[in-house]
Symmetry: C2
Subunit: 221 residues, 2 copies
């Protein structure tokens, strides 16, 4: 796979918004198809017929496609980061499960609302424990950037307190301490009754070269 990089968009604000609208709708449709494909009970001839038609649509989309992953694109607006491929929150990623209108930041508290349907199952009727860890890793990283120092995850610890039923799940996270290059963040998942089902703590570490670059840049600001 080609290594993806940080790129700068050549689109105008209007073009980027139109692209997001059309490709966001395609992604949402893909998510609905994957859910239908998982739950379908149509007879096998019909399933095979749908498979054949889907392959044709795949070929149409691959007529022109980036060979590698999407990477991160800097958008046309000041400071805008378009991480559209991200596995948890990417606008163009059909696996992402955080609601588009379900991300909020209040002070240093980051909040996600996620709709975890049949595709996120572990034990019957319950969210897969690894899926909770996946989303917590993402939201804790975002909380590190918001309330502490950004960085790469060095360690993530997840404690499972009670089962998380499939359906709407709320995730929250907040930076706790920042010491030099290290930021410690805590987060949790809550079921619809507001019970905390899973707790997590992570340490994010900013690589030394990035810290030194920041200090160097500050001398010129």
């Amino acid at each position: 796979m080609d290594a993806a990089r940080y790129t700068v968009t050549s689109l105008s604000v209007e073009e980027a918004d139109e692209q997001d609208r059309v490709l966001g709708a395609l992604t949402a449709a893909t998510r609905r198809f994957a859910d239908a494909q998982l739950r379908t009970q149509v007879d096998l001839d019909e399933a095979a017929a749908v498979t054949a038609e889907l392959e044709v649509l795949t070929d149409r989309l691959l007529q022109q496609a980036t060979p590698g992953s999407l990477g991160v694109e800097l958008g046309p607006r000041e400071g805008e980061v378009r991480g559209h491929g991200n596995a948890v929150v990417g606008l163009r990623n059909a696996f992402s499960c955080v609601r588009r209108d379900g991300r909020a930041v209040e002070g240093t508290l980051v909040r996600y609302e996620a709709d975890l349907g049949a595709g996120y199952e572990g034990p019957p009727g319950l969210v897969h424990g690894g899926v909770t860890a996946l989303i917590l890793d993402q939201i804790l990283g975002e909380a590190a950037s918001v309330g502490g120092g950004p960085g790469m995850t060095a360690r993530l610890t997840v404690r499972y307190l009670r089962p998380t039923p499939l359906g709407r799940v709320v995730f929250e996270a907040q930076a706790q301490t920042v010491e030099g290059r290290r930021t410690v963040v805590r987060g949790w998942a809550k079921d619809p009754e507001g019970h905390v089902t899973v707790e997590a703590e992570a340490m994010f570490v900013l690589p030394r070269w990035a810290m030194e670059m920041q200090a160097w840049r500050r001398r010129f600001e």
Copy 2:
């Protein structure tokens, strides 16, 4: 969402195999479509046209579908468990990324080969740290069943040693200690050069009622 349960299939061995073949092909096609949808660069009119055709296929699959999640089905073969909805290893789950021919058990060591393409991205060109945690949670749970005692994840700790590039990733896990109802398991992810990129440790705990039921049943065996 309807609570899914453990069910017993009414299919014969032949019928179950045919269903797995046809619906497994539909799932693989869905996975390819989701990858194409993420990477496509066709013009927006064509993307919108594909979206409309996809919606029609979704409606066809939903003509007959289970209202809730798949749960776990006991198959027609002795001891066969069909967790086809599982988010990491389910045959019918398009999000699952472990190769169908890439699961092996050697003694008490469990091994998965996963193809982590553009849909599993976090930082540009790298596997999302949460995706590694997701797969490790699943394989550690399987290793607990194979080499220790089964149970629910009580705690999962993941340490990130170096970045994991997108592409083929090997996961391994093995039970370390079993004490009463508690099994401790260790696991890791390896890049194509064989470097361990991520390490994990988890504790699985068998609920007390399940332990007592096992002891009770042994009295009659």
